[in-house]
Amino acid sequence: MASTPGGFAGKVLRVDLSTGRTSTEDTVERYADVLGGTGLGYRVLWDEVPAGTKPFDPANKLVFATGVLAGTSVPCSGRTAITTVFPSCWPRALVGSGHMGGQFAAKLKYAGYDAVILEGRAERPVWLFIRDGRVELRDAARLWGHGIRRATLEISQEMGADCCVAAIGQAGEKLAPLATVVNSLSHSAGGVGGVMGSKNLKAIGVQGSGGVRIAGDMEQWGRLVRFHLSILGANNQHVVPAFPSREAEYYNPGSRWVGEPGRRWGAAEPPVEITGSIRDMNRIAYRTNSAAFFLGERAWKHTVRGNGCTSCPVRCHTTLKVPAVAAKYGVRDTAQGTCIALNFGRFFFPTLPDGPKGQAALEACMLGMIMADDMGIWSNYGQLQRDFIKLFKDGVLKAKLGAAEYAAIPWDKWRAGDPAFLLDLVPRIGERRGELGFVLGEGVGGPFDRWGIAEETWEADHATTYWKMGHPKHHANEDDGQCGVIINTQYNRDAQCHSHTNFVRNGLPLHEQKRLAGEIWGSPDSVDAPGQYTPMNPHKARRAKWALLRKELHDCLGLCNWMGPWVASPLKERGYRGDNSLESRFYSLATGRALDREGLDEAGERVFTLHRALTIRDMGARDMRALHDRVPRWVYEDPKGAQPFTPGAIRMDRADMALAMDQFYALMGWDKDTGAPTREAYARLGLDDVGRELAAKGLVPGGKDGGQG
């Protein structure tokens, strides 16, 4: 047997919770062609979880998997994917992944594992102890019913402060589809907490003293790492600062690069001033302040520092200290978060007394972070909050909650934009209490199934930003025209793809973006300015394909798709170019198995196509175009009646989108009518076993045998 290539830890841990048996497999022998991460997850689901398996059935599996680059000094390499039959996918649960950062990925690698496959169901609550080669299931009776904070503390007391704990809170224990798994305080994987709860698994504690072997020359490795650092921007790979700077020709007030010299982390002790060059490699951590980006100026004085995943210099989580929330609400004064989770609290309020960046907003966000990440509640990318508002405004809550329950909810606080409202609402959801608490935790499927609301009403309302199958848009036409729409059709939850939006929002002027686009995707016409959309062309399809494949690749390698790909950079001396081959260069050096960009992208395509196959198999249908790759009505409408392809309109055109899907399918080698991969497409990617199985079920285009005779 060949020795394990570098990068891989080498083993996959399999835990049968029904029997308590644990075993290991060789990662490379079984999974090298799907790399790791989501690829490994999809392969397990294909091979071992039959169609029709429901999320909370013991037969469902939960696959925590990281990738080859996790645990190394590759910037932005701290990610774990958690793949399963996804609970909030409506009306029929299909394959989906949650994603989390923090310390988990690195710790798992140091313990000697690339992935953990959780099977079956334990009879009683347990937690999984992993320390290097030692794996045990330990009793979790004393942890069950408690939040993630306490579970993490008690497991850390048993294992040591340097362990990493990934745990569910009450929401996951009670099988809420909108439940998370959380590690390292604020790093939450959406949607998968209930599956863990259904298996009676409270937490995984992992600790390891091992390391990741890098096969290639360490000098070369060090140079590539330094090169990667040199082309980094700030969060979401925004490559120009938000402020005019002596050190940059361009700036963008909307950039996430907000760390201007002169600003300070006001709640550090003593405060830390931002000084020096914004290009300094020793000051990358000062560029991003997510709290300041979302909550405005006042966040700076409450900023303790940045935080985030192992190895990442960006620190997109902000640690905030707000003494007022301790006094007013009886919660701790310190919390951290980023992005949608940072905004969990304030998004419940249609209005706040001093606006979206006022004091109430700040306090609501603190409460949201503290409570949601302890009870392990997922916002479904803000759909939870939007649904709550709409259900109230449409009178549904008044109609459907009993009179007593409705009266017990402090609506006056909500109307007043009083953050204290969250002290009532959030535990209802986390503990699944009452009709409201239960239904909200179901996801959009709750109102649809239990309250008889038609999906069409959500699809018609721009304000919901509802997309399909129980989930919202995630960087669609409002950001990126047809490219964004194509991307949003492809998954069974919100797309979680940022490859495209990181580029279009990077802050460079349009002419620079178009020049780079020409080099990367073959034509400047692959990119439009937002709201200046032009009719579909094959270059946009190529960019959409690139975005999807790279996202999948990042999810397989342990890389962060909220930062990568790194195709643009802040460096004027490079013409603002990044490097479109960075992933393959790192992969080759780490593993010792040379793969060029096309080679690694092909692996990404293999993984993405396997996801497609799983979706087709589990839907029992091959007409993806009609049944799966849907676009909600509101995308084709404009509230003011503006026409598609006019300046300032994000409205798309049906015929144009049909053409877009044609071009995308053609590029993927999928059947034009159905959007289903052909036998040839599967075979080309080394998925012939998959193609054969689907063909036998009539799920491949071109007749029962897929036209292969």
Binding site: S73, L153, S209, I214, N282, R305, N307, G308, P313
Partner: protein, 259 residues
């Protein structure tokens, strides 16, 4: 010195006891700090022989008197917990990404601070502060160097840093036990100790830190500041213990004046 019921006292133990002025204790009570059982197991490990052999090889104990010329300073308020310092140290110096080998220690304080889970205020679950562990490059007497029976901790010629001579290290771990701040690293795979040696004057951790939380500055004595969290094992092997500390004063004391 022989004792009826116990195995013979090894020479170096007797000599150490004598140098410390404790030979009467030894004769009365048997071994001072090695119980019979411990000696048996130590003998079984071959450690006694190794120590004895090493002692013969290493000659008189190496006493480091010179101070290092530089030292690392870490600012906890700037630490963002990314662990790039630990990764840089192990990747550069051990050729693999393995923070457990890192000679700068941050992982251990990341979540709950140095006090541990539920015990203190710091770390990500507390007030957010991460207290980095850096080697103080102790002045004389250097605890790790003094503890080493092989004289395997020596001076780096570039920086004066105290550095483990890899070839000489026999993996006895006494240096780990001796460091008041727990800064020694033990590579289980290679069975060798290691410590911060300031990367020949260009510390990799300082280069790697994205928050400028680490500095490399001219050396000063940091050993008197801040609590030393660990009890240390005081070990002085070797026939002639440190003569400077244990010898009587060489000069007559100056008489007290009454004015």
């Amino acid at each position: 010195m022989k004792h009826g019921k116990h195995p013979p006292v090894p020479d170096f133990v007797a000599q150490a006891a004598q140098a410390a002025g404790l030979e009467t204790e030894l004769s009365r009570r048997g071994f001072l700090f090695l119980s019979a059982g411990a000696v048996a197991s130590v003998a079984a490990l071959g450690l006694c022989d190794a120590l004895a052999a090493g002692r013969k090889k290493a000659g008189p104990p190496l006493v480091i008197l010179d101070n290092a010329r530089g030292v690392l300073l870490a600012d906890p308020a700037r630490c963002v917990g990314c662990l790039r310092c630990e990764l840089a140290c192990s990747e550069h110096n051990d050729g693999r990404a393995q923070p457990s080998l890192s000679r700068i220690k941050v992982s251990r304080a990341l979540a709950y601070g140095l006090e541990g889970p539920g015990q203190g205020r710091h770390g990500a679950w507390g007030d957010g502060l991460v207290v980095q562990g850096v080697c103080r490059q102790c002045p004389h007497p250097v605890p790790c160097a003094t503890a080493c029976p092989q004289n395997a901790i020596v001076l780096d010629p570039d920086t004066g840093a105290r550095v483990v001579d890899d070839a000489a290290c026999i993996g006895c771990r006494l240096c780990q036990r001796a460091c008041p701040w727990g800064m020694l690293v033990f590579d289980e795979a290679r069975q060798k100790s290691s410590k911060c040696f300031l990367c020949h004057g260009r510390p990799k951790c300082v280069e790697a830190c994205p928050a400028a939380a680490l500095r490399f500055v001219p050396w000063r004595d940091l050993t008197r500041e801040g609590p030393a969290p660990l009890a240390t094992l005081s070990v002085t092997p070797g026939a002639t213990a440190c003569v400077d500390c244990h010898a009587p004063a060489l000069k007559a004391p100056r008489p007290k004046t009454t004015r």
